[in-house]
Structures are given as C-alpha cells and as structure tokens.
C-alpha cells in the first residue's frame, strides 16, 4: 500500500508513506520480515545492554544507573503486584516486566527518524508496527495465563466453560477476543501513529509533527502499560483464590 501525493494535481512524486512493504528474508522454511527483525534486535540489545551495564556493581546503597533500574523494577513489580496479588506476583514479574519494557522501547524506537537508515525494501519502524510482533506477544500472554490457571486449579480452570451454555459461549468468545484485542489494540495504535506522523511530515515537514510525536511518546508508554497491565490482570484472574469470593 502506498499513499502518494502524486495525486495532487499532476505533480511528480515528492514523498510517500509506505506500509505493508516488507524486507523479506528467507530463513530456511520461514520467510521473515527483515525490518521488524532488525528493530526488534535493536530493542533487545538496548534493553540487555542497559540492564547489563546497570547491574554490574550492585551496592547496598544504590547510585546512578542502579538507582534508575531499581526504580524501573519497582514500577514493573507494582504492575504485577497490583493485578496478581502480594502472594504470588514475584514469579510473574519477568513476564509482565519484559512485555512492558519491550513494548515501551519498541514504541519509542518508532519515534526516532528511522527513515534515515535506508534498507532495500520497506522501511524501519517500530517492531510493534508489525502485526506479527503484537500477535506473538498476545499469544505469549494467552499461553501464560492459561498455564497459570492450569497450574493453579488443573482442568478446573476450564470449569466455568461448562456451567451454563449461554455463558459458555461468552467464555469461548472471550478466549479469542482477549488475545485479539491485545494484539490489534497495540498494532492499530502504533500503525496509526506512524501513519499520522508520516502523513503530517508529508504535508508539513517541520515543527507541526513535533507536538504529535511528543504525544506519541506518551501514548506509546500508555500502550505498554495497558498491554502489561491487561496481561497481569488475566494472570491474576487465573491464579486468584476463588474460595475467597464464594
């Protein structure tokens, strides 16, 4: 899909917005979107590098980067704790935290002028701009909370599917809508952001897109928070003690 300003009068093509064009790599049987892979690896390297450097000399009295990382850890742990509960949130911090950090960095990476780096086809953008990424994340979330439910109450976790036929339909529907909404929400938001910025740059290249890009830093963070909080709340729902409520 290519939106071109060439349609304005009969001017020559001055700029273009490209979506859905991929730099395709053939890895054995898999055909892979190269631009998504590259930006994903950049995000991974950033995260791993930052945390690796920050946790070299851990001290009882923290300073500098350690302070920051502890603050970040606290934030991630509080997302997990609020949704899953004091008793069992600890083992879920890595999953919830990694979802948050990955989505946040991926969203923010897309706000950099990646267009300056030319690749043979397509263009570099947020990895979350590729539906494969968001679906991958939501599948991981799905598997995680089903695993949590199974570990907590065995196949009793699926008990509520059989309680009443009408509700069963709702449950089955929910089973599909949860990952669907998780992935489409993130994908749609980030894609829309990139499109809006691209179109604005196309129309007014300077200054006008800046407030929007700042806004998108905020919405990128909110998307990360929403994704991780929802995952945590699904996990929390799967592991909560049902005896407390009946």
């Amino acid at each position: 899909m290519e939106l071109a300003l060439a349609t304005l009068g009969n001017q020559p093509l001055i700029a273009a917005v490209e979506v859905g064009k991929h730099l395709t790599w053939q890895l054995g049987p898999l055909s892979v979107h190269g631009q998504t892979m590259i930006t994903t690896w950049v995000v991974m390297l950033l995260l791993i590098g930052l945390t690796f450097i920050g946790t070299r000399k851990l001290q009882r009295v923290p300073s500098g980067l350690q302070n920051f990382l502890e603050y970040a850890y606290d934030l991630l742990a509080s997302i997990a704790r609020n949704q899953i509960g004091e008793k069992q949130y600890r083992s879920w911090v890595p999953l919830i935290g990694t979802i948050f950090l990955f989505v946040l960095f991926a969203n923010w990476l897309g706000q950099l002028p990646l267009r300056l780096f030319h690749i043979p086809e397509g263009e570099l953008a947020s990895p979350t701009n590729d539906i494969n990424t968001t679906v991958a994340l939501s599948l991981i979330a799905l598997v995680s909370y089903i695993y949590a439910g199974l570990r907590k109450s065995g196949f009793g976790y699926f008990k509520h599917y059989f309680e009443s036929p009408i509700l069963a339909a709702v449950w089955v529907l929910e089973f599909f809508t949860r990952p669907l909404s998780l992935s489409i929400r993130l994908f749609g938001n980030i894609l829309a952001e990139e499109l809006v910025v691209a179109v604005l740059i196309l129309l007014v290249p300077i200054l006008v897109p800046v407030p929007l890009m700042i806004l998108f830093l905020l919405t990128g963070a909110i998307q990360a928070l929403v994704f991780s909080t929802l995952t945590a709340s699904y996990v929390g729902e799967a592991v909560e003690d049902h005896d407390d409520h009946h």
Binding site: T7, G20, S31, F52, D74, V93, V135, L137
Partner: protein, 172 residues
C-alpha cells in the same frame, strides 16, 4: 486545495486500490509467517536474558537491602528498649535515693531537735541549780553578815553605853 474533500476521497480510494494490489502479491499489513515464530523466540530469549541480568540481581539486591534494614531497625529497637529500661531503672533509683535522703534529713532533724531539747533542758537545769546555789550562798552570807552585824551591834552598843555612862558620871 489540501482540504478539498475530493482529495481525501481520492486518497482513500487510492489506498484501497493499492492495498488490494499489495495483498495480491506477498506482504501487506496482515502477512503472518515466520516473523511471528521468530518474535516469540525473540521475546522468550529477551525474557530469559533480562531475568538473568535484570530481574534476578535487582530483586536480590532489593531483598538484601530490606533484610538489612529490617535487622538494623530490629537491633536499633532493641538498643532503644535497653536504653529506655536503663533510664527507667536510673529514675527508680533516683527516686529511692531521694526518699532515703529525705528520711536521713528527717532523722537528722529529729536527732538535732532531741539534742537541742536535751541541751536546753540541761542548761535550764544548770541555770536553775546555779540560781539556787547563788540564792543559798546569798542567804548564808546574809545570815553570816547578820550574825556578825548583831555581834558588832552588841559591842558597839556596849561601848556606847559605857561611854555614855562614863560621860554622865563625870558631868555629875
């Protein structure tokens, strides 16, 4: 010209056409494939590595610190309690000592009062004695003086009478 609605419609139409064209080839917005699999692998890899270099160490250091603070606070509380107990004990002893001091003072005062009364009585008795003795001396001396005086009166009267008698005898 930019806000000509026809332009927007044109653009949308174009977008739809292009999308259809691209979907027909490979690619497009909803091109699921190897990327999905690799992203799952990427994510799990990232989660594992971050667990090793981030969540693990950071949660450990936070845990250790809160443990350290807890134990420090515990020992501080213990020491505070000890100090408080010591202060209480000191206060108690001070109270007892003050009480004892008051008792000692009261006893000393009573003793002094007794001694004073005793000495006063002694002095009064002594004075009384002295007065009595002086009175007795005075009386004795008075008696002696009276006695000697009466002797002298006799002698003088005798002398006087002799003199008178002799004088009268001569005249006559």
């Amino acid at each position: 010209m930019l806000f000509d609605p026809g332009w927007a419609a044109h653009l949308l139409l174009l977008a739809a056409e292009e999308a259809a064209a691209v979907e027909a080839e490979s690619g497009g917005l909803f091109d699921f494939g190897g990327t999905l699999v690799l992203q799952i692998v990427n994510f799990l890899l990232l989660m594992t590595i971050l667990s090793a270099v981030f969540y693990g160490p950071i949660s450990r250091v936070i845990e250790e610190r809160s443990e350290y603070i807890r134990s420090n606070a515990g020992s501080a509380q213990r020491r505070f309690d000890e100090a408080k107990a010591l202060a209480d004990q000191y206060e108690q002893e001070l109270r007892i000592t003050r009480l004892e001091a008051q008792q000692v003072i009261a006893a000393a005062e009573a003793e002094a009062q007794k001694i004073r009364a005793q000495q006063l009585a002694e002095a009064q008795r002594e004075a009384q004695e002295r007065i009595a003795q002086a009175q007795a001396d005075l009386d004795r001396q008075k008696q002696a003086a009276l006695a000697s005086l009466s002797g002298e009166v006799e002698a003088i009267s005798r002398t006087l009478s002799e003199k008178l008698l002799s004088d009268s005898g001569r005249r006559f």
